[in-house]
Amino acid sequence: MRAIAWLGVLICVVCAPMSVAAQEATEGENTAAEIRALERAWSEGEARNDNRALDLIFDNALVYIEYGKVMTKGEYLTRIRTEKPHTQQIVMEGTTVRTFGRAAIVVGVYREKDMKDGKVSLSRWRFIDTWVKKQAGWTLVAAASSPLPR
């Protein structure tokens, strides 16, 4: 009986780290899928000028860096709400999601096609978005991009 009990303990000792690792891998995949969905919701919300949807995605302390300028959540939402949308198209070229416990980093490249003063301009950007899991779920705390050479 004692031997069986200790065998049980041994199995538990060997299997517990394996099951934790498997659980973490699954959680990582689920997190990546959840964050990719939020990134899509952000793009769609911005395209529709849907500030209510964006308000739920962005953390109140969001730091947004665009064209080398730092914007708060309020400034970014105001820009989306008040400016005439001139961006014709944003195409994502691929993203990578890395999770670090309750933080996640999204690295990717997007292409932007703008129409300004009747002229079409094309640009490519490499970006890093930082997401943090809070009580209400994953929220965007920082987003920044750097221009890629043409």
Binding site: M1, R2, A5, W6, G8, V9, C12, V13, A16, P17, S19, V20, D59, A61, V63, I65, Y67, G68, K69, V70, R98, F100, G101, R102, A103, I105, V107, R124, W125, R126, F127, I128, T130, V132, K134, V141, A142, A144, S145, S146, P147, L148, P149
Partner: protein
């Protein structure tokens, strides 16, 4: 007696099961200390890059660290360390840093000043940066950094 051993083994089994289910990062992070610690680490990062102190840089940067430079290039930790090794007489300084704490994650924004000599000509450039830090195993470690030209 044999029954007691079985009970002990069962209790141990339950404890092990519980230990496996714990998230393992329940340490509290003090917001008051964290901000100043992170600013100090940002300055240490600059000093380590200037001095080509690879040991210090290895501790500051997570193995999965990624960096996007002002030209949009994506670099891994190994590539960043190789760039530092290859650099000559560069001086780095961070200005106007602001730390935003989100529990065990921190975002730092600021201006990154680089001074050096390129093709015989001295240069100074300023880029806006965003660094992301994570609190793990009792210390802060940088997981990502992006630099972009200031207001263009």
């Amino acid at each position: 007696m044999q029954g007691l051993s079985v009970m002990k083994a069962f209790a141990l089994l339950v404890l092990l099961g519980c230990a496996g289910a714990l998230p393992g990062r329940a340490q509290e992070v003090s917001d008051a200390d964290s901000g100043s610690k992170i600013v100090a680490l940002e300055n240490l990062w600059n000093q380590a890059a200037e001095a080509k102190d690879m040991v210090a840089l290895d501790r500051i940067l997570d193995d999965a660290f990624v960096y996007v430079d002002p030209e949009g290039r994506l670099l891994t930790k190994a590539q960043v360390l190789a760039d530092v090794k290859a650099s000559h007489g560069m001086r780095f300084a961070s200005e106007a840093m602001v730390v935003h704490l989100h529990g065990e994650t921190a975002v730092v924004t600021g201006i990154y000043k680089t001074e050096g000599v390129e093709r015989g000509k001295p240069f100074v450039r300023r880029d806006r940066f965003v660094d992301t830090w994570c609190y793990r195993h009792g210390s802060w470690i940088s997981i990502a950094s992006l630099a972009t030209p200031v207001a263009f």
